[in-house]
Assembly symmetry: C2
Homo-oligomer: 425 residues x 2
């Protein structure tokens, strides 16, 4: 993309409405804009990252054998009556009437819809296990939306549901998807831990959360470097102790040192058992001809929330530091030029075309602006590399490469392309 | 994908609820299921086609220089008050209150949101022209939803908006996007015509519709083979004539023969002028320092509706005949076998793996079912080719290839892969 054409309205000062760093930086870098409380527009650069996250989630879910579907956002009351959640669910469930005065709600989750789909369309136990997922907009009418897209009302989620004849089969799929989640967070380039969880409004017995580690999380997690598991730090202290008192101690059941960090929940996997299938009568005849309620699992990932969590974990005082797989711009090419016939601009344009052709996400800063503005903006939006083509190129054909963590490298003009291709291999 | 794992619940008899052929076939082939009036689930095969359509639309829109964004489905009343549409828009605009009794609606279109975004974030006329698009779920509370996804309430749409300093610039972008629409419908493999249109609820002066030609369209179009333009057939007759009387005549202003076909509107492009920008005060200083209301264009494509329109245009009494670029299954491999150690199955599996690796959309029918059932189902779901690996393979290594239009070809086992790769090049 060309900087002159890219719609990314920047904000210089920290917006007063934004309490956490991801919210501040997403606004300042022109990636999101507020429409109403907890409701946002995604602008081109923010949307690009959202799509990159979505695609990683999609690929890993598909690799588990889960099939992608698309369910509606507007859901009829009768299905929520079937599951007994129409009354039970709090005011987060936004209820309304259509023009014929029929009751509907905006889906915060899709257990009712999917259980109804399966009870009406499963013809034999031989079709089990069955796993379906979607990536779709959801709505939760939070009483006090905050932290921008981290705790918004309208958000993008991946939700998957699996169906089984017995607990053993459910457990197998649960483990497979748990592994896929680990692959997802590894590909996203995020530090995370798995936390044994309370099943909350969804119900069911066994469940675990995936948390991205960051200082601004809502819960404080205690974990060791060695293990993929973390626990809520409050479980390690008694009433008189503060969480800070854990600093420097080791876990009671191991010699591993306790680390602390305020987790951001971005994934949640559940073994629901037959909570929904019994309530909604989703059954199948087993091989002995006995009618069985299906065993169900459900598996969520907060796709839009991950974008915020990635920033909470990866930023400095200059701006965002995107992990390379989700950077909307991997390479910013910054020529310093007066005329587009200048050698610096001609070289920059060639480099831009070559790298773009290879599928890299490249921004050519084709504006006649001073270097300071260009580099500041490329740091703010979290471009992984800035390629500076200025005086040293004119004088001796060398180019300065600045990585987002501040490392500077001088390269000959003939080496730059190879270097960057290798960096993103 | 493997037929044994694919979630596509078939229906044998024509569902009573379905009046038009696309609705019947989408239900029968297990591609969609109804959730509530005008609200549907997309199952794996239907969703696959939906995504293929979406990606063609996305690529062609991006090639015009339009940038992809993502706006919310839930929209606040105040913006609709600004545009004066809160009261003007009919009951198709689904209005409701959130938990704090604030008024919102479900977006049937996004002029208000985008105009608000631009009025708050455009800093100079130098950023113009600017074109933004999204592919997003919309809701219109139709009084009598019908024809399945063709006239549903919740649907997937691509909507684009462009902003300009003057009419000439608007006209340029309008023409560019008009060309992109032609490229889209050509890639989709659909016969279409362009119809001069009434701007309806969106407003503005110049507008054209893109119609897919099919017998079940809501309007009867009159057109010639030679021209890309069609007109509403009613405009060619007087009060006493029937539309049928046009049969065999020529257009009054040319010698071209009149053809008739009932269009399905799948795209609509508008030059809005300053209707929204004036009402909502979206202005910019021009180069002379004068404040100008922005000129706007808007450009819609009914992504989910295209799936239905494609079937209305392309089907026979056996099922769907997908155009090859949007077929969820391009090749069905149908081995006839008793044991998975049978030669037929081993060859089928190898072919399946080879073709899948090349990125073709292949289904291996790995079920121990009789040939009649397999071929009938592959015809129903509209697979472009069926590859029959049966007795003639065991006897003399030949394979029968049946194209969806019924052409049969005998090929040696060594030729089949090359043939199919070429067919989908």
């Amino acid at each position: 993309m060309l900087a002159s054409k890219n719609f990314a309205p920047l904000i210089k000062d920290t917006p007063a409405e934004a309490e956490v760093i991801s919210h501040q930086l997403l606004l300042r870098s022109g990636m999101i804009r507020k429409v109403a409380s907890g409701i946002y527009n995604w602008l081109p650069l923010g949307f690009k990252t959202l799509k990159l996250v979505e695609n990683i989630v999609r690929e890993e879910m598909a690799s588990t054998g889960s099939q992608e579907i698309f369910m509606p956002m507007v859901q009829p009351r009768d299905l929520w009556e079937d599951s007994k959640r129409w009354d039970k669910f709090g005011p987060e469930l936004l209820r309304f009437k259509d023009r014929h005065e029929r009751d509907f709600c905006l889906g915060p989750t899709h257990e009712e819809i999917i259980t109804d789909l399966i009870r009406n369309n499963l013809s034999s136990y031989k079709e089990l296990p069955l796993s379906l997922f979607q990536i779709q907009t959801k709505f939760r009418d939070e009483i006090r939306p905050r932290y921008g897209i981290m705790r918004g009302r309208e958000f993008l989620m991946k939700d998957a549901y699996s169906f089984h004849l017995n607990q053993e089969c459910l457990n197998n799929t649960y483990q497979t998807i748990r592994e896929a989640y680990k692959a997802i967070f590894n590909r996203l380039g995020l530090e995370y831990k798995i936390v044994k969880a309370d099943s909350g409004a969804i119900g069911g017995e066994i469940s675990e959360e995936f948390h991205v580690l960051a200082e601004s999380g809502e819960d404080t997690l205690a974990f060791s470097e060695e293990s993929e598991i973390a626990i809520n730090a409050e479980l390690l202290i008694n009433e008189k102790e503060s969480i800070d008192s854990l600093q420097g101690k080791t876990f009671p059941d191991s010699q591993e040192e306790i680390k602390l960090a305020k987790g951001i929940e971005v994934g949640h996997i559940f073994q629901l058992g037959n909570v929904y299938s019994s309530a909604m009568n989703a059954t199948v005849l087993d091989e002995n001809g006995n009618r069985q309620a299906l065993q169900m699992g459900c598996y969520g990932i907060g796709v839009s929330r991950i974008v915020a969590a990635a920033i909470e974990q990866n930023h400095d005082d200059k701006g965002i530091i995107w992990p390379k797989n989700i950077a909307p711009i991997q390479i910013s090419i910054l020529p310093i030029f007066k005329e587009s016939s200048d050698k610096t601009f001609i070289f920059a344009e060639k480099l831009y075309k070559d790298l773009s052709k290879l599928g890299l996400r490249v921004m050519l800063d084709d504006r006649q602006e001073r270097f300071g503005k260009k580099i500041t903006e490329s740091e703010l939006v979290g471009s992984s590399y800035a390629v500076v083509i200025g005086k040293s190129y004119t004088e001796n054909k060398t180019i300065e490469l600045i990585s987002r963590n501040g490392d500077k490298t001088e390269l000959k003009d003939s080496e730059i392309e190879k270097f960057l291709i290798k960096a993103f291999q």
